[in-house]
Subunit: 275 residues, 2 copies
């Protein structure tokens, strides 16, 4: 067995800014704070660089490729602080359709490591602004950790985290823009996803209000036994949690994996849903 | 839309008895109490008629067909009180292998309505005593309610309840023998199953100790929003909860069903699991 590998994870719960020119300064400041607390990785909310419910026209205007100017700016911040960053942004669709609601992870050397486009679009706000992603992104390895990426509504579906768990994910990172009406997600579903799959789930929410919604905060890190390792309140916060890879591996060995009966689950992949 | 249909559900949390001759008397007494509180349906723990961790030899000796003497006795109790009963028993395997860990529902007229054999066996205690069931039993209709049956460890797998939810289940009944070490199941996973599938889950646990285990009680009825409608403590208890079918139908209309992406879940039915 490899030696225990530690990771200090920071979740940045912040309001959306109406003044776009301040977004990168603010990210730089949060990255400095996180690094000062020993963080190796900073996870920001969904669409953290542009705002979330900004309308189809703004989303289209701000969308960029995965290696666009916003990515380059985040890369500079990451390199400057020696800190990996997961951030959300609108990604230009190759066919000119509505952009993707995307997240990307950039490591502490400034390299783009992994990218994911939201597959489960939520209500009119998502469907009016975004095209759905084509696939659940495969688990990727960073510093010995197997990481998965999901966005907001995705994590409410047990299937998504299960797919990542079946790939051996240690930690699933979930930038989100969860409204105050849906507190059951951080309070109940996020810990349940962690527990049933024996992995960590980090759920980084926005807070405050924009023109359309009030975001509920309650950013959460849930552990492989389903326990709440950290949970923010309603206001801006930087949560820092130290994780030991060996704890998750130990929990996984006691997990449900060998007892699954995939031959009984065919209905889960059938195209017909109840009305 | 049909008129609102009410159901008063009773969960009987009880210890296993070492004196088998008292089991039916005790069931008769619990049924009388439940009926006096207006219950239409009484759900008992896993293997409620024989005890759970009684060893392979005792299980084999006590196993019977689904219409055997224990079923006939429960049918008399149900008819006498005009109350449907879900109970657990060891069911004889047609090929002489280890019996099934089964549950059966008998209606208030004494008719056998549905039967299910546990598909996800838990640890040495289950695998040493039982053969696994071959299928998740289809949802069945009773008094206008679409009901599903699962047993204990089954409900910890998100796939099982999802399969029933996809069939439009309103209420999943889960007789269980959950040990005290696994409180996360009633506290976290049962409410999450209810919430993510927008249905009720009724989880009827044993309490007290037998020669092998200490059972944790905490029998639970969770509602389609994930709320705890009722939860017992550690001791013997009869929980009664009145449910309105229309509440579940309303919740389901707001649920995730149309947003699922079954084409992305193929890994869930693949036979290979991580080591």
């Amino acid at each position: 067995m490899p030696p225990a590998q530690e990771l200090t994870l920071a979740l940045w719960q912040c309001p959306y800014l109406s003044d776009a020119s301040r977004v990168l300064d603010r990210l730089d400041h949060a990255a400095a704070q996180a690094r000062a607390q020993g963080a190796d990785l900073l996870v920001c909310p969904e669409m953290s660089l542009t705002g979330y419910a900004i309308g189809a026209q703004a989303v289209q205007a701000l969308a960029e490729p995965a290696d666009g100017p916003m990515a380059q700016a985040v890369s500079m911040v990451a390199r400057h602080h020696g800190l990996a960053i997961v951030y959300g942004y609108p990604e230009r669709h190759p066919d000119g359709k509505l952009p993707y609601n995307a997240v990307q992870m950039i490591d502490g050397q400034g390299h783009r490591l992994a990218r994911y486009a939201k597959t489960h679009l939520f209500g009119d706000v998502d469907r009016g602004q975004f095209s759905p992603g084509a696939a659940i992104a495969p688990v990727f390895v960073w510093r010995g950790w197997r990481l998965g990426l999901l966005i907001c509504y995705d994590v409410e579906f047990p299937e998504t985290v299960r797919v990542l768990g079946l790939q051996g994910a240690d930690l699933v990172l979930v930038p989100t823009a969860n409204m105050r009406a849906y507190d059951a997600v951080p309070r109940l579903l996020v810990p349940a996803r962690a527990c049933e799959n024996r992995l960590w789930v980090a759920y980084a929410n926005a807070c405050g209000q924009d023109a359309a919604f009030e975001y509920g905060g309650l950013s959460t890190v849930a552990g492989p036994e389903g326990s709440l390792l950290a949970q923010a309140g309603r206001d801006e916060a930087l949560l820092c949690v130290r994780l030991q890879l060996a704890d998750g591996q130990e929990a996984r060995a006691l997990g449900q994996w060998p007892c699954r009966r995939p031959e009984l689950y065919q209905a889960l992949v059938s195209p017909s849903d109840p009305g």
